[in-house]
Each structure stands twice: as C-alpha cells, then as structure tokens.
Amino acid sequence: MTATDLGLPSLRGTEGVPTLAEGETLTGKDFSSDQEVRWCPGCGDYAVLKAVQGFLPDLGLRRENIVFISGIGCSSRFPYYLDTYGMHSIHGRAPSIATGLATSRQDLSVWVVTGDGDALSIGGNHLIHALRRNVNMTILLFNNRIYGLTKGQYSPTSEAGKITKSTPMGSVDHPFNPVSLALGAEASFVARTIDSDRKHLTSVLAAAAAHRGTSLVEIYQNCPIFNDGAFDAIKDRDTKEHALIPLEHGQPIVFGGGTKGLVRAAHGGVEVAEIGDGDGQVSLEQVLVHDAHQPDPTTAFAISRLTDAGYLNRSPIGIFRQVDRPVYDDQARAQVATATAAATGDRSDRLAALLGGGDTWTVV
C-alpha cells in the first residue's frame, strides 16, 4: 500500500458559496419561516434560534445557498423555523447526510443542528467521523444533558447518579464531555458557548461559520421541563464569575474577576491556581496563554477536562481549538476535478470507450 501527498487546503472560510449582490442585505426576519415555533415556553432553543436568525445575515451569503440539516430531538426541529433550505432527517444521521450534501456541492453553507442524544448517543459514530474527516459544515450541538423529546430520560451527557424516569435509583452511566470527545477525534474547530449569552454565542458562531472544515459548537442549553437549572451555576450572576473560564486566543486564561488562572499542572495537565503574591499563588505571567491555533490538541484537551462531569459548577467556554487541516470535501472535489480536466472528448464518447474497453472481440 502506498500513500500520496494531498497538500494543504487552498480555500478559506466560506469561499465557493455565492454571496449577496452588492448593496443587497438580509435581515433576521428574512430567515424566519412561516412555521409556528413549538418549543416549550422558556426553552433555551428560542434564544439560540433568535441568535442564529440574527447572525445569518452577517455571513453575507445568499439565503438559497444555506442549508440546515438536523436529526431527531427537540433541537432538531430547528430547520423548520428557518427560511433556508433544510432537512429534518432521522435520529443521529444528520452529519452523514450533511457530508454527502457538502461533498457534492461546494456552493452551499451546510449546518447541522443536533442535541446531546442525537449527536453523542445514537449518532456518535457519524459525529466522530465527520470531525476526523473535517468536512465543511458547522455543527451546533445543543447540550441540555437530558432527553427532552422522549420526556426525561438521562442522556450521554447527564451526570452520573442522575435520577430520571429511566434511572429511578440514579444513572450508573459515565457521561461524555463533548469538547473532549471532539478534540479526541481531532476536530479542527471546537468551541463551547451558552444559550443565554447572545453576544458570546454570536461571536462563536461567526468564528465557526468562517472556519473551513468541520466546526463543532457545543451550546449549553437549558431544558426548563426536564432538567431545569442544569446550568444555573454558570448563569447565576453571583456564581458565574467563578464558574466560567473564558478562553480567548492569545490571552492569559483568567477568571474569578482576575483572581484565578490556569497553569500547567505537575501531572501534565492543566489546573486552576490563585493569582497573587501569597503562598501557593501564581503571578499573572505564570498563567497559561490560550493558543487555539496550536496544532497539538493536548493542551486544549487538558483545558476541556476542567469541565465538571457531575453537576456543573465550572466550565471553560470559548474556542478551544481552531486549526487548519485538509478538508475532506475540498479534496474529494479536487480529485474529481483533476480527473475530469485530464479527460478529453465529450462524455458520450468517453462512455463508449469505457464500455468497449478491455479485451473485446468483434462478430461480423
């Protein structure tokens, strides 16, 4: 077996997707479909929908070249509410459908909307393979840490010991950390944001959309019916300062109003230290500077491990990793283009040559 050098990506961002004409603009309203939105009152999905509708015009892309594909679950109703092209598919399979669409059409901006059950349980295989291939798509993973549409069973991100309808004595499952999982699959863009922080959400979505390859955005999203309060610690005004660890490329990773920072740990990972002059405290210079563009995902993974696996009291948010890596669909199309360019003659003549090739004989 031999391998060939495929080279690095040459296309950037959303290149290839037609943009709006000079002077033409769209608004959030242009992206609202005529369908009545039917999530439960207070659902975090409303906030994300509003943010997405508000943000899409900023892309400057033609509306008819944007496609949203979803699987099954509450969040997967998303495409019905956006006036773009869309498909509400089957449970867990949205990344595979998006892969086929993105590979066959360079001129589309492809989005996947999924949830923690859809993406990490029934569709786990498709998710990791989409991430490893680095297909041009942006995956919005709504993580409410519960099964909502089936009315309240624990999910693959629910904390161990969680009492639900299907686990009356407490779940004995160990949860996934979606960011760690994505980094393990060598995703080229991995970020986390929160449904209730529209500004942060929008900035992360903008970066994700501009990234060439697969972008995974985990969105902490509250389910007021079956898992209300799951994210209170990081949303509550009194606690969030010490619960959220904001990641900004090129900046020292500090939180807690500047009192805490991340430093290298003796065990090789990353840990929280107090900033100051006191005993056991560290100086600001010793605090880790976030490098989202580092090709080696080791540090990003270490940072992702600071997220609580149990009840959420602490979590880094922002862009963990954003690197350039060969893009599957760009390369697949390039191979087809190269082969097509090398072929001479029209397709019918070439088909005749193919069919009549090999060892033939003629009967007269």
Partner: protein, 634 residues
Amino acid sequence: MSKQVKQLDRVIIRFAGDSGDGMQLTGDRFTQESAAFGNDLVTLPNFPAEIRAPQGTIPGVSSFQVHFADHDILTPGDAPDVLVAMNPAALKANIGDLPKGATVIVDTHDFTTRNLAKAGYESNPLEELDAESGGDQGPLAGFSVHPVDLTGMTVEAVKEFGLSRKDAARAKNMFALGLLSWLYGRPIEPTQAFLSRRFARVADIRDANLAALSAGWNFGETTETFVVQYEVKPAPMAAGTYRNITGNLALAYGLVAAGVQSDLPVFLGSYPITPASDILHELSKHKAFGVTTFQAEDEIAGIGSAIGAAYGGALGVTTTSGPGVALKSEAIGLAVMTELPLVVVDVQRGGPSTGLPTKTEQADLLQAMFGRNGEAPVPIVAPQSPGDCFDAALEAARIAVTYRTPVMLLSDGYLANGSEPWHVPEVADLPRIEADFATAPAEGETFEPYARDEETLARPWAPPGTKGLEHRIGGLEKADRTGNISYDPANHEKMVRLRQAKVDGIAASLPPLAVDDPGREDGEGARVLVLGWGSTYGPIGAAVRRVRRAGGKVAQVHLRHLNPFPNDLGEILKSYDKVLVPEMNLGQLALLVRGRYLVDAVGYNQVNGMPIKAAELAEAITALVEGTEKEDVQ
C-alpha cells in the same frame, strides 16, 4: 508430434486449488481466452469467505468453473467435464461433483502424507489407481485421471529467473493454464499481454509467469499423457463488439452510464461488504465522469450521504448486501418520505445475519419489498444475467429520477462474480433520463414542494441553490402540496395512498412481458408456466430447453420488475394451469404472486448458496407438465 483433435460442442472445466493458489485468476484468464476465441460462455467463481483459510484444508479450497460452447448457453453447467485439482483438498472437495468418466488433472506435488491427512484422505487416492493396488481402485476409480507434477515442472521451468522456491512455485497456476489452453486450443496471447501489463514493474515475476504459461502449453504438446486435443468452435452470435463482463463490473458501468444519460453527477456512499465491494472499487476509478465515491464509516452513513447528495441534486447511490440493507432500512424510509431519487444496490448473499458472505441467494426480496416501518413502498428491479446488470442499473436510475423515489436493485453473488460475453451497447441507443429540476416560481406564486406531476405523481426535485424554492423536508408526515408537518388523520391517509399510487403507477411505463411459449400463437401453447426473477434466468432457461427437447411443452416468463409487477402479469399467470416459481429462497416471489393474483403458484426452492442446477429443475418441470396431462386423463 501431431495429436488427434476431437470436436466438442461444449465443455465445463473447474479449476480448484488452495485459496492462495490463484485459481480465480486462472479461471478468469481461461475465460478471457475463450471469449477472445469466440465461444459463448458462463462462469461460476466459488471461494471461501476467509482470505487465506488454513492451507491445504477443505475450507480453504477456492474454485472457478467455466462453461464454454459453440452455441448459446445459459448456465455455468451442472457438473464439470474436467477438474483441475492443485492439491488433495481441492480434489476431495470437488470430485463428488463430477460424473464418472470425467477428466481429472491432478498436481501430484502436494500429495504428501501431511497434505493428504489435512484433506481427510487416509490413503493416497492416486496410488490406489496403480496396478500394484489392483488398478482403478479408490475414490478416483472410473475417472480419467492425469497425475502431473505441475509444481515440480513449474519450478524447473522458471529456475533461470532466480526466484525463491516459494515464488517459483506460485507460477504453477500459469503452468496449469498453459496446459489447459493447449488442451482446448485456446489462444494464450491475451494472457501473455495481460501478464506483461500486470507484472510490468517486477520483471522476474513477469518472466516466470510467462515462462510457466509457455511451459504448460509445450508440456501438453509433447507429453504422451494427453493424446487427444479438443476443439470447441466459436459460437454464432449477433454482429457487434463483445467483451467478457462480470455482474459487478456491468452494474458499475450502468451507474456511470446513468450519470451520463441524465447529465447528473453520480454520488456513491458505500461501506465495504462482500460481494458488493467491487462496485465501490470500480466506481472510484471513474471520477472523470463526475462520479464521487465516499467510503463511509458505516452502512447507515453510506446511504445517509447518498440521500444528502440526492437532496443536493446528484444521482445518489448506495451499494451493499443484505446485512447492509437491514442497517439502511430507516434511511430508505426517509428517502420514501422525502421522495428523493436514490438507487439502493443489494448484491444478495446467503443469510440470515452474516450468513454465507461469498455465496449466492435470492432471499432479500421480501426485505426489499417490506423491510421498513410503515407503508413504505419501494420499486424493485432485478438483473437476470451478469451483462444485464448494466441495463438493470440504468432502469433503476430511470425509475428513481423520474418518480423521485428510492429504488432497490437486487443483484446477487452469482451475478456479481459470474461472467458472460456482453454485447457492448451503442451509447446512442441508451435511454435518456430527465432530471427535470424545479425552476423558480413565477412572481406572486409560492413553491409547493409536495405538489405532484399529474402523470407520474412525482413531486418537484428542488436542490438548494435556487432562489424562491427554499423549503424544508424531513421524516415527519408531510401535508399534501405544502410539505409542512402534518398530523392530520385525513392527510396521513391521503399521503400514504399517494406514495403507494406513485409506485404502483410505474407499471404504466413498463413494456409488455416477453412470454416464451413457442406454440402460444397457434393455440398450441403450454399449460405450465415457469416464472422467475433475477439470476435464476440462466438455469430456468436451460431447464426449459431440456424439457422442450424431450418433447414437453412449457412456457417461461422472467421478471425484471418485482415492484410494481408489470400490468399484464396477472392475465398471463391466469392463462396457465400451473405456475412454477424456481427461486434461491423458500418461496418469496411465490408468496407475492399468490397474494397479489390468487394464483396457485408452486415453488421450486433451493438455498444451498449455489445456483440452481438446470438438470434437476428440468425434472421438476417435467413432473409438473406430466402431472398436468395426467389430470386431464382423469
């Protein structure tokens, strides 16, 4: 030394050896030589699922049977006239299929105590033929046996190339091919050219194979072991260009042609599975035709990606075998609900579960027909011979694109790997397929993604990228015309019936069935009809010929379309007293025909992983024909 030349009208040869001995290649080359010579032919490869089963054992035996003739033939033949056995296990595994008097050429080199024991022989069957054992005793008694040290002579013939003994011995299959080519007057030039191409980069291996091939030929010419040379003259065939082709290759070509004839890019999403993988391999070579192949992470992603590509306006295809169809079922239902064109190729193999990966069977018909939740009708198309896989693929694509529906294309392991001469079609004669994409609505009009064409009941195909056609589809029930989510009871009933009516309506586009019943026009028709589908076409045709030669009257109809059935099938079935349905399953078409037409169809069922034997089927047909006549007397 000039030898006697004896004329034969047809010969069946089986090459058998260890799965590492190159028997498939040997058989394939002999086939190409026979094709180039102008014989009609049909082949039957038969190999274990293990890539290298334990050497020298019965489970490790791989064989390739080729039937060639000076006339039109339909099957690879029931029983070989000649067996070439490269080791004791190959002899033991195959000798039982030969009629007494058949020729057996044995490579004596591996008939050691150890290898005999591995094959389960307590004594050497070759020695039992010797005079000191009383002559013509043991399991080979009654056969025309030629013990030849093929391996020893091969090693001797290639020693100048300085290969290791192991590499030298590997050329023994070419020695055997050379010998058989001489014996049946086959031209070896095509094989010489093939070897030069294949081993262009390894000169010593190339030269050793060429030398072994020639040495085998020369051995035949000079030895006294073979006193007679045989000749099978070319078969008369319709004028045109021919090539030998396997079903998988023809099917892949059919999909490439469907892309050209529809002006659509072809997108194949597939996960490797025996015996369908060759189609993935072949299509991956044809990027210059705008064919994209995607090796997915699993069967579901294979079809998922094809659905995504179809939504994007490509000719979406997924290829698999029965276990893969089981995994794809939910996604096929999605394609039914979203009404997107899709070709699902099922190269059937022995089941259930992993079953017999390398053997043939037709037991996925009911899975194709009903294997989904809800009322989810899917058209089904089946090829009847290796070459016919080309036309069947085009037909599946035509139905998929015209009617905006997933289509099942049911090939099988025998068609996939078997081969026959294929009359290369003229591209100008191939059917056109019209994608007929939706166009932007006029000012003031709203696009309705679930409005329907009056004739075909197909909905518009509106890939992303066209302004004004933005719409959402999905697996939830659709409201008629608008395609919005609808849980309305009356709408669901309407949509279920519409989807069924659309598939049923495909029958209107089908040509009348060909009824092969020589006396029918003169009112002297048969009373018994044999109804088949798929790869049983060859055995049924051969069996029907046998019955007719013996004076029996029997009619034959073969179905390309299993869903919907052609409109004239019911009338045809009712015009016969008895209907026999031979199938490589336990009666799946028979069940459908009985259910649909209330016809008392009788099954002839075989599920042993091998094609039906014409002689045995002919007996069953004859019994039915005679039984019908007896009923008259009573």
